[in-house]
């Protein structure tokens, strides 16, 4: 065969070429997944509804839509969006290979298991990044058309980074459960169980217990507090609801940049009698809220990815 000579030269093929081959393999798989395409369509439908509904409702009551210069910078996929995007991107990534048997030809190619893992991860990043960019461009253009000129558009990339970080917490969880169980169903159900448990319990714990701080260290929507302190030299910061947690990194990034001295106060509601005021639990500067959520997100991402990588590295292919 003619290639033997060439092969002699190729005793140690480049790491990048092989890594990019794994990325291409995964990307082609991802973009042809029906559930991923379905999720993108659903995201666009929701983004469109978010833009069009206020217009329709305002027209119904005979009013025009007021300007909202922060629409673009404050938009994002939201907790459910992060979870669903993570799920459709990563639930089959490793476990699906084991289930379908495609892991056999893949792991017998001259690529290390670590390279396969990193390639799949990088492909997930690219696919999420590309989807979010398109969604943000769409939302920004739509927001400008519906709500007028948008402020702080230079912060949109930060929102993007924050959203990807939030999504990757769930990606890491899905991958870890999938790699350990080698079952896409268990990966999906397990992650959904964690998501829904935190989604339901977080507001209750946050408002009715004195342990709201715990939520700051869990993945998801975190504890909810209120801003509104008077900041020196910056005037009155508008009162708004601020949530900690890994799902709110983008929002807190923007809050921190716009209102660096903002303080977030966390309350506990003790009862519903008239005149009974909420009990102040603690107060934190937005910088600490943001730093904590980023640190917690990175910790979860690293921990779960490490579990996932180790599970793949040690996996024996029986079937």
């Amino acid at each position: 065969m003619s290639g033997v000579k060439n092969k002699e030269v190729r005793t140690n093929p480049s790491w990048t070429t092989r890594f990019l081959a794994v990325v291409r393999y995964e990307l082609l798989w991802d973009i042809r997944k029906k559930k991923f395409l379905g999720m993108v369509i659903v995201a666009f439908v929701f983004a469109t509804l978010g833009l069009a509904l206020p217009v329709i409702l305002s027209n119904m009551v005979g009013q025009s839509v007021g300007p909202n210069p922060d629409y673009a910078v404050s938009s994002g996929a939201g907790s459910l969006g992060f979870f669903l995007f993570a799920l459709v991107t990563a639930m089959n990534s490793i476990s699906g290979e084991f289930e379908s048997g495609t892991i056999v030809p893949l792991l017998t190619k001259p690529v290390s298991r670590t390279m396969v893992f990193l390639g799949k991860l990088f492909a997930a990043f690219i696919i999420l990044f590309a989807t979010y960019v398109v969604l943000f461009v769409y939302t920004t253009i739509g927001g400008t058309i519906v709500y007028g000129p948008q402020n702080n558009l230079q912060l949109v990339p930060l929102t993007l980074i924050g959203n990807i970080l939030s999504t990757f917490v769930w990606v890491a969880i899905v991958l870890a459960i999938g790699s350990l169980s080698k079952s896409s169903l268990i990966a999906a159900l397990g992650t959904f169980g964690i998501f829904i448990a935190l989604f339901i319990s977080a507001p209750i714990v946050s408002v009715f217990s004195e342990q709201a701080w715990v939520l700051t260290y869990l993945p998801g929507s975190g504890a909810t507090g209120v801003s509104g302190s008077v900041s020196q030299g910056q005037g009155m910061v508008p009162t708004k609801s601020i949530s900690t947690g890994t799902d709110n990194i983008a929002a807190n990034l923007i809050n921190y940049i716009l209102y660096p001295s903002m303080n977030v106060t966390f309350y506990k509601i003790s009862g519903f009698q008239p005149g009974q005021s909420p009990q102040i639990l603690y107060e934190e500067p937005i910088s600490l809220v943001l730093a904590t959520s980023i640190a917690v997100a990175f910790t979860y991402i690293l921990a779960f990815l490490l579990i996932s990588w180790y599970a793949l590295k040690r996996a024996q292919v029986l079937e």
Binding site: M1, S2, G3, V4, N6, K7, R10, T11, N12, P13, S14, T17, R18, L20, A21, V22, R24, Y25, L28, W29, R32, K33, S100, G101, T102, V104, P105, L107, T108, K109, P110, V111, S112, R113, T114, M115, K313, Q316, V317, L318
Partner: protein
């Protein structure tokens, strides 16, 4: 000369079941080595250890002179592997799959452009390379499995049941393909439960049962060693008592029976003694119409070994 595959004391257990038990396997380079055994004998487990999909519980494994311990992409760079009933991502197209796998081997774009059409032609998938793999039949996936195993012109090709799921024409084509690969100087290690397939293409054979190697040698040696002395069937015109007596007296004849005009001569040796027998019959006035020396087929040898191993 460096062995293509060498295992010593290879052991693999699944819980309390020992799938491969202290297996010593030696595959010489530039041979077609058949790996035979009944279902559950440990063939696929052994192969999975060789390609790094399973970790052995004991023993040592060397492939192309390099020890296989842990994740060894450098060893896999020099070999091609076709799994039993291969499964490929159904979202990819045939061409894309080979192109991506080629990149994983570090092949250049030009090499892939030359090699992929050649392989697709060889396995009979030309014209279907732009179809999604989800639309491929089992036989087509099997053919693609062979193509991807040969992608980077490996020094060693491991084929696990390559004929499984193929129609008779496909099976013949695979056999020709394997012979062709071996002619290029590639070592082929082929697992098969089809004895006639092994008999037709392999130069060496290892038979395993319950994870234990029963025999490993050249195909010829395995047949002659295990089948014992051959039987000579001689058809003679005007068969007389004199001829029978003369043949019986030959030193290498252990037993002789007569069926019509045919003498069935059981020999004490596996050597070719047809000239001496022919000379003796002619000298005794007989005219030989036909003469065949029959050894036992690989199938008979295989059955003998497996039955013996089962204690039958």
């Amino acid at each position: 000369m460096e062995l293509a595959i060498e295992t010593s004391g290879l052991t693999k257990r699944y819980g309390s079941l020992t799938a491969v038990n202290k297996l010593d396997l030696k595959v010489e380079p530039n041979t077609i080595h058949g790996f035979m055994g009944p279902n559950g004998a440990g063939k696929t487990t052994t192969i999975k250890v060789l390609v790094g999909l399973l970790k052995p519980d004991g023993g040592a494994v060397k492939v192309l002179g390099q020890e296989v311990r842990g994740d060894r992409p450098d060893v896999r760079l020099r070999m091609g592997y076709m799994p039993e009933l291969p499964k490929f991502p159904k979202h990819l197209k045939g061409w894309e799959l080979l192109d991506i796998y080629g990149e994983m081997y570090g092949m250049t774009t030009q090499e892939r452009k030359e090699q992929i059409p050649r392989l697709l032609e060889m396995v009979g998938l030309r014209g279907r390379e732009r179809d999604l793999l989800g639309k491929y039949s089992k036989g087509m996936q099997q053919r693609l499995g062979i193509a991807q195993a040969l992608l980077d012109e490996p020094e060693l090709v491991i084929l696990d049941e390559p004929s499984l799921g193929l129609d008779p024409v496909g099976m013949v084509e695979v056999r020709e393909l394997v012979k062709g690969i071996a002619k290029e100087g590639v070592t082929v290690f082929i697992s098969s439960h089809l004895l006639f397939e092994v008999e037709q293409i392999c130069s060496h054979v290892t038979i395993i049962h319950r994870g234990v190697s029963l025999v490993s040698d050249t195909l010829q040696n395995v047949s002659s060693k295990l089948s014992g002395p051959a039987t000579l069937h001689v058809e003679v015109t005007k068969l007389s008592e004199g001829i029978v007596e003369a043949v019986k007296k030959l030193p290498f004849v252990s037993n002789l029976t007569q069926e019509g005009n045919t003498l069935m001569i059981e020999l004490k040796t596996s050597d070719d003694v047809r000239p001496q027998v022919s000379q003796e019959i002619t000298k005794s006035g007989g005219v030989i119409v036909s003469m065949n020396q029959k050894g036992r087929t690989l199938e008979e040898v295989f059955m003998q070994l497996v039955t013996k191993s089962q204690g039958g």
